[in-house]
């Protein structure tokens, strides 16, 4: 009986290992230009990571189809950052040690961007990152470039939309526990106050919570005419559905997590009715044929709609290409060329890098067309520079 158990155990273990290994990416050949990318491929962080894991490969393919960069084939070397800061730092170090890349893509998680920053300063290579926390730019690290609007731009944009376009006087705020949610609410409350709008309450919930009815009801009872929510990706379906179930009757304005396809995929048009979203750009349903074509191509290749994280890295890759073609492969020169990029019109946003490495200075507000899950553009809100 014991022998059967150990044979079964071994057999199962071997089979599982084989299944899990999968097919590795081909190794870079001589003469290829290797660019490092530290991306969450495993763990719940893969929710966002999968998106730019895909678009970076898409960009690699597109660039090589056009002849590569300065005649050399581009090879993006991925390292998994998982959901641990230590893993993220090690991933960056590994990329620098093995690939000796003149540039690295960091991921979209502020906590990990902050953890890796000292290593970036030590390695002296330019990096692009998509975490939204203002704290990253405040480090003053000249090697770091943000390829998305930061959380303050987003929060102020939402406040401006609510005050000037919706013309409301009393607004409720709700946010996920942590720097993003609570920080966002604080910025929004301050911005609303300056625009003469009262923030009637700031309700917090935990990212893993499954029930936000208490927070929603509390804000409604305090007289909120609308609620602005700062969320990640898993909570919007719950919050939107509960708003409908509780018969709240007031609009919900969600942060970019709420209109990511990963979130809308599990929502109904019913739940999305009467909601808005403030995000980087509109991809699926954008009237611009170039954007529309890109979105269709992504959908076809990866069987899932693209999102604003993905497009940011796609655009970032092409900004990098332009920088290398202009300035060569020396990290400092690449850094200066990226910093000098102004008014680069990407598929998603338009990029102009400022003194703090901030590349995007606007958000758009979108709303689902009534009865559907398809978004349309309502307004573009530019931050004062």
């Amino acid at each position: 009986m014991r022998r059967v158990t150990s044979v079964t155990t071994c057999a199962t273990a071997v089979l599982l290992l084989l299944g899990l290994l999968g097919l590795p990416r081909p190794v870079a050949a001589q003469g290829d230009l290797s660019i490092g990318a530290t991306v969450p491929i495993t763990s719940p962080y893969a929710l966002s990571g999968r998106s730019y894991y895909n678009t970076l490969q898409m960009a690699e393919k597109d660039i090589n189809a056009q002849g590569g960069i300065k005649g050399r084939k581009v090879k993006i070397v991925f390292e998994d950052t998982s959901n641990s800061n230590t893993t993220a730092v090690n991933a960056f170090k590994k990329v620098m040690d093995t690939v000796k890349s003149p540039f690295v893509f960091l991921n979209s998680y502020t906590v990990q961007n902050l953890a890796v920053e000292p290593e970036v300063a030590r390695a002296k290579v330019p990096v692009m990152y998509a975490g939204g926390g203002v704290a990253v730019a405040e480090r003053g690290d000249a090697w770091m470039f943000r390829i998305r609007p930061n959380d303050e731009v987003a929060a102020k944009g939402a406040a401006q939309f609510v005050a000037k376009s919706l013309k409301l006087k009393r607004v409720g705020l709700m946010g996920v526990e942590g720097d993003f949610g609570q920080g966002g609410m604080k910025v929004a409350a301050e911005a609303l106050k300056q625009l003469g709008v009262e923030a009637v309450g700031q309700e917090v919930y935990r990212a893993a919570d499954k029930d936000m009815s208490a927070q929603l009801l509390s804000l409604k009872n305090k007289g909120a005419e609308a609620i602005v929510v700062f969320t990640y990706v898993a909570e919007p379906p719950i919050i939107f559905r509960q708003r409908r179930q509780l018969n709240l009757g007031i609009p919900l304005i969600g942060s970019s997590g709420s209109c990511l396809p990963a979130a809308t995929n599990v929502m109904t048009a019913q739940d999305m009715e009467g909601t808005y979203c403030f995000t980087d750009s509109l991809l699926v349903g954008n009237p611009d044929p170039k954007v529309h074509a890109w979105a269709e191509r992504y959908q076809k290749e990866f069987n899932f709609p693209p999102d604003v994280y993905g497009v940011a890295y796609y655009d970032g890759m092409f900004i990098l290409k332009q920088a290398i073609e202009k300035a060569g492969l020396e990290p400092q020169a690449i850094r200066n060329a990226i910093a000098a990029t102004k008014d680069y019109k990407g598929i998603g946003a338009t990029f102009s890098f400022d003194q703090r490495g901030e590349g995007v200075h606007q958000v758009v507000v979108v709303k689902p067309k009534p009865g559907t899950k398809n978004y349309e553009l309502i307004e573009t809100v530019r931050s004062a520079q």
Partner: protein, 291 residues
Amino acid sequence: MNELVQLLVNGVSMGCIYGLVALGFILIFNATGVINFAQGEFVMLGAFLAVTTLMQWGIPTLPGLLLVAVGMGLAGWLFQRLAYQPIRDKPLLAIIICTAMVSAFLKSTALLVWGPYPMSLSSLLPDSLIVVRGVVLPLQNLAIIVLTGVLLLALYLFFFKTQPGLLMRATAQDFDTARLMGIRVGRMVGATWVLGALLGAAAGLLLAPMWNVSIDMGGSVALKAFAACIIGGFGSVPGAVVGGVLVGLVEILAASYLSSAYKDAVTFLIMIGFLIFVPRGLFGELVSEKA
């Protein structure tokens, strides 16, 4: 008043889900002494299996759920065969750490199989609202409460009115004596893990329509269920359910009337309070009584 009823119904329905997961904990603990740190992953696995059978393969509800039950039963049986039986004579700590490793393994495997994006299982429970005496209530919440009641009744009948149930209770009460009386204790332990997995899956199926299916859905539910076990009395079956409902109620009332940011702190403070002042919980037996 209406709002209070809404909150109470929400709290009780969430508490039922915690209770089911807590019940899984308790059954496995009673039979083997092991605290199964992968119980939350049973919740997740059950929900993902339902997504595959009902949504991806399009199998009609009843046969689909049957398939999920078979799959989860198999998972529970495999778990104890591969991760418990080979090391059951080793120190308890080693076994508990093993369950924690299985939890990590299941989460990573689920990521590979189903991907990182949350999935919907909306068809399982009704999505509409009903009005009861002027209070608007989601039908889903009431369905959860009713279904949990039915499940508990079925479990009670199984344990107290059937032969296999009697044998399992005997094994849980005193392993060695049961073995001496000729009960196939290995099979009983296996059956208990199967039941634990099925209870986890049931919780997952009730949770999924409202809260969607994702890799990390099991973690926080399992933690609250653990608190429920402590409050209800570790080892007590009615305690697990009552503890679960209490945790659900405390959560939502604390969020509404105290502070939404501190609701978890309140729940776990109460759990710590029980550990200090009433360690045997509401329904637990004193250890000396058991011996």
